[in-house]
Subunit: 199 residues, 2 copies
DNA sequence: ATAAAAGAGTACATAAGGAGTACATTATGA
DNA sequence: TCATAATGTACTCCTTATGTACTCTTTTAT
């Protein structure tokens, strides 16, 4: 159970995280103060104390830079470290400490499918990926849909409506060609809403 | 069983939710008042109370911004329909009929990062994707790793060891070139173990 | 016409945010 | 090694933001 943080506590925790991500060492009390623009070390110290007592930090009392970010918990959440961009330090995401995949991926009328094949590889969907589909019977052009063709075969493709009741299903793979069908041969079964992969 | 809400209660609940989505923290009583254009904190307090007693909110009584949204749990699992391959019917996966993303993605010493940029796009990792990293200090050739360069910048790349203590970090993007470093400039922070994306 | 819902306004105790100083301890560099 | 600067910590004092409990009035719906 995570205890709630006040605004300043959150700000201080964020500052500590990004400092640590960037310099790979913990900041000093006054260093934190500089980041959050608070001149009094006593004030920072007080809030660091409450972060410690709330379980967000540990402290090695005898030395400078003796703070420690709490080690990973492997409960319901993933610790969320921040954003990674090539050529930059990892940037903390303010206020966000953890990520719950289920909260992100689950939802009403959703189901999972495993993708076989590389027909959508240019959309970043690869063989053996899991896709999460929201069950619905229509979709907009450009969306990735699960389509049932002639009540027999199923496929995951980009959807586009052409003139004269023609539906085009476009793969995301330059080696494959789009397919066109009279619209009543195609049944939309759902729309891609999320995706995951394990390595 | 959800109790019915009056219009104002509904409006207040909506405001709280959107405030929380936007700022990632709960609003104050007066803050809610500003959103719904009601000047009296007492009035807001009264309706927040009734939201609490109707079970739409929880409250941490002793503190500011101490409201909590009741988490409406979507259930633990996604129905698992099977495998989808272009040109075939969906094939059931024998013995499996549900998928729990958390079970797939969580684990000890794992954390999440959000990827910014397209440097790994040919590996199916796109801008804004979430990646899940297993924290470890070494990795094998060909694995995708989080690497800290010169203690300042961080990046997600394929790892390869060359001769003479040279480490090569390869992007998965034909527009970008591999970078080589003396091995002591590079610190491996973790290895990619999973990934997810929402649309 | 009546009750429920919506709203104003005020007062008050207290949580949160912040400054500043003093002092013992720890790094750091010459 | 030793002097000095940097640091963590414990205080005190202060201001502002906030939740809450009231009372009273106005609007809305049945």
């Amino acid at each position: 159970m995570k205890l709630a943080l006040t605004r300043l506590e959150q700000r201080i925790l964020d500052s500590i995280k990004s400092y640590h991500l960037q310099y790979n060492e913990m900041p000093t009390i006054r260093g934190i103060g500089k980041i959050v623009d608070i001149s009094s070390p006593g004030t920072i110290g007080r809030y660091v104390n409450s972060l410690v007592s709330k379980g967000y930090l540990q402290r090695d009392k005898r030395t400078w830079r003796g703070l420690k970010l709490i080690s990973f918990d492997n409960g319901e959440y993933l610790p969320l470290m921040g954003r990674i961009a090539a050529g930059k330090p990892i940037e903390a995401i303010s206020g966000e400490n953890e990520l719950n995949p289920n909260a992100l991926l689950l939802g009403e009328n959703r189901y999972a499918l495993q993708v076989i094949g590389d027909s959508m590889i240019d959309a970043g969907i690869r063989d053996r990926d899991w896709v999460i589909i929201h069950s619905q019977e229509s979709a907009d052009d450009g969306q990735i849909v699960v389509a049932l063709i002639d009540h027999t075969e199923t496929t995951l493709k980009y959807l586009h409506h052409l003139k004269n009741d023609i539906v085009e299903l476009r793969p995301a793979n330059t080696a494959l060609s789009p397919m066109r069908y009279i619209s009543d041969r195609i049944l939309i079964q759902g729309v891609l809403v999320a995706q995951m992969r394990t390595y």
